[in-house]
Structures are given as C-alpha cells and as structure tokens.
C-alpha cells in the first residue's frame, strides 16, 4: 500500500481499543476493587460479572468469561514462587501482538497474582486500603496523561498543586511558603538536603561539593534509610550522616544531638542539616521537635522534619500535639499516600521559605520549555523548581479525596487509625504469647502468605529479634479484622 494512503488513516483501531477498555474496566472493578477489598468474599465461587455498568452500545464480541468457573483464589495474596509465577504469567515479549481475549485473560492473571494492598487484612506496609474518590482521581490523571511542568500543558493541575500545597502548609502552621510534589518521600528528603546545602553554600551549585569543607548532617538512628541514600547520592557521603541516640520509645534525644554536633565541630567538619522524624518507620516514634528546633536555631542548622508517615496526624486536633513545634521547621516531607489512602505516589515537599530558594536551587531555565516570552505570566510555570523534567500529576487524587471527605472526614480517618492501634495494643497485652518479640516471625509470615489470608511486616530492631509491625490505616478495617489478625497469628504459630 502506498505510504501516503497509509498516512491518511489513523494508526490506531479506536473501536477495538475502546471495547477492550470497557471490558478490562469491568474486570478490574470486579476483581481488584470489589473483591480485593471485601473480607466476606468466599473462596472458590463461580464469578458472574455484574450488570453492565456502561450504558449505551451493545456488549462487545468478547466471550463471556464470567460464566466460566474461576479457580479458587485466596484473598490478600495468592502466593507463588518466583519461577512458577514467571511461567504462569508468560512474560516473554514477542514480535506479534495477541488477541483481546488473551489480553483480558492476562489482566485477570495480573490481578489475581498481585497482592491486594486494598484488602482489609493487608497490614504489610505504611500504605494500604483504597479510597474510591482518590481512585477516580487517579484514573482521570492517567487518561489525561500530562506532565506538570508548565501552565500551558497542565493549567488545571498547576493551579491545583498550589492550592493543595498551601493547604498542607496551613496544617503545618505556615501561612505562606513553597513546595512541590516529589516522586516519593525519599526524594523529598533529598530535596531538603540539597536545598539546605545550597542555602548554606550557594556556590556549591556551580562549584560542586569538592570545594566545600566536609559537611555533616544529623538524624536519629531510627530515621528512614533515605537519609543514607540521599547523603550518598548528593556526594556528601554516608560517613557524614551522624546518627543520634534515641530513648526507649525510639525518639531522638536532644542532649545527644547537641553532643554530637559539638563533637563533629571539634573534628573540623561543618554541620549544616538536622532531620527529625515524625513517625519513624518501625516504631512510629515522634522526635521532640521543639527541643531539636532550639538546637538548630542555636547552631544555625537547617531543620528538616521527615513527617512522611506521621504528617497526617496534623489533620486531627486530638493527635496533632505529636508534632508540636513542626512550624519551626525549615522544611517538611509529608506523604498523603500513606495514612490518607490516596494512592502511590503522593509525597509533598514543603518549604517555609518565600524567597524563591527552591527555584534558585534547582532552576535551569531551559529555553525550549520555560521561555520567558510566553503570552501568560510565566511564574505559573513551576516545573523549573524541580529536579525532574517530566513529572506526574500527583495532586488530583488528593484534591478530589479532600473535596469528597473534607478536612473533617480526613481527621476522622486519622483518628480511626489511632483507635485501631489502641485497640490492638490492648488485645496484644491481653493475650498469651504476644509479649515476646518472636524469632518465629518469618515462619508465621511464610504461612500467612502461602495461605493468602493476610500480610504484615516484621523486622529486627537493634538488639531485639524479629517482631511484627502492624500498621493500620485502611479505613475499611474494622475490629473484626484486628481480631482476625491476632487469631490468625495464633492459629499459624501454635505449633512452632
């Protein structure tokens, strides 16, 4: 066929594509959203797809797979060894494409063998659950498929991101400031480190760190490992991350911080940055921010608060006292994708500065993207403040969730998570066998995963051997799920 006539037709089969989209949406709604979140779903039932959600045209020509008995499927996860799963998934990429029926089967398989992080018994990480409004926001984000760098390309989202960041700053206690959404809390922490370095040594941006004195930064020994990764990545060096002692609750001891700073100064290094943690990853501890802020002020150090996990407590008037003093920070990292169930990723880097520090630190003024002679006010082109070029729209899901729930609704969600913890702590104290930090945790973990009934994380900690770390944030969890959690551990571990 002549090349020109080939170009006269579109290169995509729209009708087939839309049909596939409709069918696949049905599958994901049923298998991932409904089934994934419901503990009462029985194992081994024959699946019938629900009545067609999409009004209008007739159902497509794809066979009605829903009438075929679907093999029994455990709930939280359907454990397979890596080699077996590779074979089941048939991962190879070949030169020809496949039929829609086969692709739909693949979608089902992917959903089946994926861990249901939305399930009420998924307790493995610091995120879990599914919020329908946030999900709708995410689906819209995917469909609109744009990058967040300039107003011309993402007008709605550039304005929206500013409003969302302002709201988060308000909760921190700042009436003004700056910020950006980052691809993860680790990167938010790295932004803080880089901005702090630039603030102390503006010439480091051009000259590099080789000309600087040996820098030193401080964080608790309970801090997130991204501080280490950040120090390495930024050319500061992990040896120059000084870990400060914590008390028995996992909170940084301010007197130890002061001692450490003095010691490091005496060695000739230059302290520039302290990272306090609000909600440590393992113990959920909150560092005493006022005490640490005093020290930072005295020594002229940048005060960053990694509130990636604990930041959401700011929403609750009952619990925000845990972050007393956060308004004294120079920067804050806060991940709504954790406790607020917004969906990965949603990680805010917030800055108290209003002088354009973030822009000066990162801006490169690329002339093909950030032309100064555009026909609108180019201060709306906020993309140059970031390290990224293309950047996902992470604000819509949080904004839509907030519109749906209101600040009050989110506060209730946070309070519920705290209530779960209190309930669980009481229950654990009550039951025999739950006091000890168990070396049997890995064995119980294996059993629960093979069974697929729930998931929870474990780890060693200092001198303590492996213990379970139960995190509950999913708003659909009820007391029954927590009772089940403890019962199941007992069931799985009783013969160990």
């Amino acid at each position: 066929m002549a090349e020109s006539s080939w170009l006269e037709r579109p290169g995509l089969d729209k009708a087939a594509g839309e049909e596939f989209l409709r069918e696949a949406f049905q599958v994901l709604l049923d298998e991932a959203v409904r089934k994934g979140t419901d503990v009462t779903e029985k194992v081994g039932e024959t699946r019938r797809p629900p009545a067609r959600w999409w009004g209008g045209t007739e159902r497509g020509s794809l066979p009605d797979r829903g009438r075929i008995p679907f093999p029994p499927s455990p709930q939280v996860c359907d454990w397979k060894e890596p080699q077996e799963l590779r074979e089941l998934l048939d991962l190879e990429l070949r030169s020809s494409g496949e039929l829609p029926e086969r692709l739909l089967e693949r979608c089902r398989d992917v959903i089946r063998y994926s861990v249901k992080t939305c399930h009420p018994r998924f307790f493995n990480q610091l995120f879990s659950g599914l919020d329908h409004h946030a999900l709708a926001g995410r689906l819209i984000t995917e469909t609109l498929n744009t990058s967040q760098y300039t107003y011309e390309i993402a007008p709605v989202f550039v304005l929206m991101e500013e409003v969302v960041l302002a709201k988060l700053r308000e909760l921190v206690g700042w009436s003004s400031g700056d910020g950006i959404f980052c691809p993860g809390g680790s990167i938010s922490n790295m932004y803080a480190m880089n901005v702090a370095r630039f603030h102390h040594f503006p010439e480091s941006r051009q000259k590099g760190s080789w000309a600087l004195p040996r820098l030193a930064l401080f964080t608790s020994r309970e801090s997130h490992y991204s501080i280490q990764k950040g120090a390495a990545f930024l050319g500061i060096g992990t040896d120059n991350v000084h870990l400060v002692g914590t008390d028995e609750r996992g909170k940084m001891i301010p007197e130890e911080l002061e001692k450490e700073i003095q010691r490091v100064k005496a060695e000739g290094a230059k302290p520039f940055f302290v990272c306090a943690t609000c909600g440590t990853t393992v113990l959920g501890a909150f560092d005493p921010l006022d005490g640490i802020a005093d020290i930072c002020q005295r020594h002229g150090l940048w005060f960053h608060v990694d509130a990636a996990w604990g930041g959401s407590a700011l929403l609750s008037s009952k619990h925000r006292h845990l972050l007393t003093g956060i308004e004294r920070a120079d920067s804050v990292a806060w991940n709504p994708h954790k406790m607020l169930t917004v969906g990965l990723q949603c990680s805010a880097f917030l800055l108290r500065d209003t002088s354009g520090l973030l822009q000066r630190c990162h801006g490169a003024g690329a002339t093909y993207l950030f032309q100064p002679d555009k026909f609108y006010d180019v201060t709306y082109d906020t993309g140059d403040k970031t390290l990224q070029c293309g950047r996902r729209v992470d604000c819509l899901k949080l904004w839509l969730l907030w519109k749906a729930a209101g600040t009050e609704g989110l506060a209730r969600r946070v309070e519920r998570a705290f209530a779960y913890t209190r309930y669980l702590a009481k229950e654990v104290k009550r039951r025999d066998g739950f006091q000890l930090v168990l070396e049997v945790a890995p064995a119980i973990k294996e059993r629960m995963m093979r069974k697929g009934s729930m998931m929870v994380g474990y780890q060693p900690h200092g001198a303590r051997v492996n213990f379970f770390r139960q995190i509950v944030t999913n708003p659909t969890v009820t007391k029954d799920d927590l009772d089940f959690f403890l019962d199941e551990i007992e069931r799985l571990g009783q013969d160990l």
Binding site: E18, E81, L139, I236, R469
Partner: protein, 497 residues
C-alpha cells in the same frame, strides 16, 4: 443481623444498587458514623468504641464509592476517550490563570461535597485540561493515547502496589525484569541490569552517580569533599537534566563541560577529545561522557561509535541519553541512528515518549552485570529487605533504587507490547517518522515556511514567515521581528482554536 459480621448496606452483585443511607445526592465521609448508622451501632449492645471511634462498622460507604468510580469513568469515556480522535474538538480550552482559578472552585474545605458536585468537579477538571491525546496536540515529546497502556495503568491504580519487594509486588517485579531484559536485547547487550525511574532526568542522575561510583566507590561513604574535581562531558545540545544532575549530585554545574555540536546539532568528537585533554591538563578528573541520541530540540543523534572510541581510550563511562531517540531501536529501518549504542555503559530510554506508554515510563539500562547498580545504591534497610525471608531475596530488587516506594511503570509498557508485538511497536515508530517526512515535504512546498534543517528523526523545526516579513532583507531586524512574530503567531494559534 449478627453484630460480628461486617455491615454492608445491601447486596453486592446483580440487581439495582440499593439506596444510599445518606440523604439523596450526598455522600459524606464518616456520615455512616455521624448519621443514621452510628446511632444504629450505638444501639447495638456490641458496639465497640475506642477513643470515641466505633470500630466494628466500616467508615466508608463502599457501594457509593464504587458507583462514584463507575460514574467518573463514564465521564472519562464520554469526554476524553471517545473524543480522543475528534478534530472538531478543541485541544485546549484556554483560560488565563486568574480566570481559571475563579472557574474551578479549588478550595479545600472542612466539609465534604455531594456526589453530584464531585462529578461536576471531575467534568470541570477534564474540560479545562489540555487534551494530550488530540491529533493536533504537538507540544511536547509525548502525545496520543494507547488503550492497552491505559488499561494497564487503570489496573495498577486499582491495585496500588509498590515495586520494592517480591512479597508485596510479585507480578510487577517480574514484569519489570522481563521488560528490562527485552530492552537490553534491543540495545545489543548480552546481559545487563536496569531499573525504571520517575523520569529521564532521574535516569540521567542515576547514570552519573553510577559512573562516579565506578570511578571511585569510596565516594558513597566519604563524599566529594577533598577529592579531585570530577568533570563530565556532554553536548551543548544535551538535555538540561545534565546540569540539574551535576548540581544535585554535588559535582557542580561548572564541571559539566559542554562540547560543541555541528550545524545538525550533533556532538563533534574532535571537540570532545580536545576537552578531555584540556581537563586532564588542568588536573581535574574526567569520569563520564553523556552522548544524546535524539536531542530535545533538533532531534539530533550524536555519533556514538566515535564517542565510544574516545571513552574507551580515556577510560571514561559512556552514558547515552536516548530518552527520546531510544525508541528508534525498535525499528529495523531507523535503528541505524543509534549505531554504536551497544558500546555504552548505560542508556536512558523513555517509552512514554514515542511509544505512547503513558507518563511515566523511563528506564535506565546498565551494561554491567556484576551488581554494580545494587552496590552503588543499596542501604539494606532491615525492615524491608530482611535477609531471612522465606523466598529468594535476590528478587527484592527495590534496594537498587534511590527510591523507597516505587510505581510499577514497566507494566504498562509490557501489556502494550503484548498487545502490539514488536511489529506493532515498530510500525508506530515508522509511522511517526513517515509523518515527519510528509510534513517536511509539505513545508518545502509552501511559501512562508522555512525549515531549520533537514531532520533525521521526528523533530521538524521550521520558521513561519508572515507575509509582512517575506520581502524583508535577511538581517538582525528581520530576525528580531521574526522572533517576536513566532510568539504572536503562537498566541494567535491558541486564540483562534
């Protein structure tokens, strides 16, 4: 009803949706607790209250939530998907920022909004967003829509995984491994390593840090202070992420030496050789060359073979930023543009650009197979990468990353590849370049259009010379007016849509 059973507001499948408990048209977070449901709960003798929170009833009305998702998807289908190829629709509904702020009702309040209002907000967001799938959206290096990638993205949004460990993300981790392996095949390596990143800029940073680590592994612990001044080389046409990376990594923007490009925008190898020699004489430590395969503006491809020769001679890491041009590797007709790429130590390649994989889909591929990526980046966090797991922990690849949580960006590429096959993807690349060729021919035929240069890729760069300027002599005044005129022309184009 047994109070120990989960409370649900009605049957879950078949038949009409049961009426919501809340008032018609409203859906409020926690209304189940504040309204009728809470009263019912408290009346039951077995209501469990902890800190004033009822724990034996759900907080969310999942039926209403599911309905919302369905209705939002109806809107997505009607307003975006079905109109995606309709050229009578606008590419964008332009409003200046202050006006748009008024129109959108962005404020985040204490109370939640009603179901209908929320759907209206979704409609507004869509209406005022740019339609990047429109056939006349040509603004960036990404455009269009692929249905299979979109389905894959919908699935991953619903499943919400994080690709750090096999236990949490078994499917997506294996998929990523398979995709990386396939991409490596196209580069021409027997084996290798890689990871998906949040952007080509981040891939370039990874490569820079990896090269630095290879050069001097101690930097990971000791940092740069007191070390010789590291220097890297890249073309003056390179992507600006090289500067951002140099500053972020502590190398410093002054230590990025920009190599002159020829009139086609390609790095001149002789100039690279000169600069490397100069850097050595100065006493600095060259460690990396970044070549670009498909520059952002002109779409130029640096001569990789010659650059590789120089890197080999001087022991420098060769990174190829093929974020834009990498997809030409899939086309047998056009892969010659990247001849020599197999000699690179690392490659950045973004399928979300020409292959329509969906933002973001960015891989860093590494030739090394000795675990360099992991050694460079790992921190071995004990709460996540426990060594005593019940499965082979070498599958927990998340420690190769600078990120902790990470999105399953390879999956949408994989499903799209399964749907189209290599042949289908190849057609996509060939078509893009055929369209570019067609446009070039048309531009040559039309008065008032002037090509900057004959492209070899998909970037067609041209001037439009308005009639008023066509008789003007070539000189500074002409170019000044033309420079402003492009702005005017651009503005008029938007306004006339």
């Amino acid at each position: 009803m047994d109070s120990s059973a989960r409370e649900r507001p009605g049957p879950r499948r078949g038949g009409a949706s049961p009426p919501l408990r809340s008032a018609p048209g409203s859906h409020r977070e926690g209304e189940m607790e504040d309204g009728i449901c809470k009263q019912e709960m408290l009346q039951k003798k077995n209501a469990v209250l902890v800190d004033g929170v009822v724990l034996n009833g759900p907080i969310m009305d999942s039926k209403a939530g599911e309905k919302f998702v369905e209705e939002a998807c109806n809107i997505i289908m009607e307003k975006v998907i079905q109109k995606a190829d309709d050229v009578t629709e606008k590419v964008c509904e332009w409003q200046d920022p202050e006006t748009l702020k008024q129109i959108l009702d962005l404020e985040m309040r204490d109370a939640g909004e009603s179901h209908q209002k929320l759907l209206q907000l979704c409609q507004d967001v869509i209406q005022y967003s740019v339609k990047t799938s429109h056939p006349r959206f040509f603004n960036q290096l990404y455009a269009g829509i692929d249905y299979y990638s979109l389905v894959a993205r919908f699935i991953t949004e619903a499943l919400n995984p994080s690709v750090y460990t096999y236990e949490v993300s078994p499917v997506f981790l294996l998929v990523e491994e398979a995709v990386i392996k396939k991409m490596i095949e196209f580069i021409g390596w027997e084996e290798g390593d890689g990871i998906f990143n949040p952007g080509g800029s981040v891939s370039n940073m990874y490569a820079m840090n990896l090269a630095r680590y290879k050069f001097c592994p101690e930097i990971k612990e000791k940092g740069l202070s007191g070390l010789p001044r590291l220097v890297l080389f890249t073309s003056e046409e390179c992507h600006y992420s090289m500067k951002k990376a140099a500053s972020f990594l502590g190398i410093g923007t002054e230590n990025v030496y920009f190599i002159k490009a020829d009139e086609r925008g390609k790095m001149i190898p002789e100039e690279l050789e000169k600069q490397v020699q100069r850097a050595r004489k100065e006493g600095s430590a060259p460690f990396l060359v970044c070549a670009t395969a498909g520059t952002t503006v002109l779409g130029a491809f640096d001569p990789l073979d010659k650059i590789a020769d120089i890197c080999e001679k001087h022991g420098l890491w060769l990174h190829v930023d093929a974020s834009w041009g990498g997809s030409a590797l899939i086309s047998r007709k056009h892969c010659r543009l990247l001849h020599g790429i197999h000699r690179a130590d690392s490659v950045a390649w973004n399928p979300h650009k020409m292959l329509l994989a969906g933002i973001q889909c960015c891989a860093l591929l590494v030739k090394d197979n000795s675990g360099l990526l992991k050694k460079c980046y790992s921190a071995k966090a004990a709460y996540l990468f426990q060594q005593d797991k019940f499965y082979d922990v070498s599958y927990d690849t998340g420690d190769k990353s600078i990120q902790c949580s990470r999105r399953p960006d390879a999956f949408k590429f994989w499903l799209m590849w399964k749907a189209l096959g290599t042949t289908g993807l190849e057609e996509r690349v060939n078509r893009a370049l055929a369209l570019a060729r067609y446009l070039v021919e048309e531009i040559k035929k039309r008065e008032g259009f002037q090509l900057l240069l004959e492209p070899e890729y998909a970037n067609v760069c041209f001037w439009y010379i308005p009639p008023s300027l066509r008789k003007m002599e070539d000189g500074p005044e002409f170019w000044q007016k033309l420079h402003q005129g492009q702005v005017w022309g651009y503005f008029a184009f938007w306004m006339l849509r």
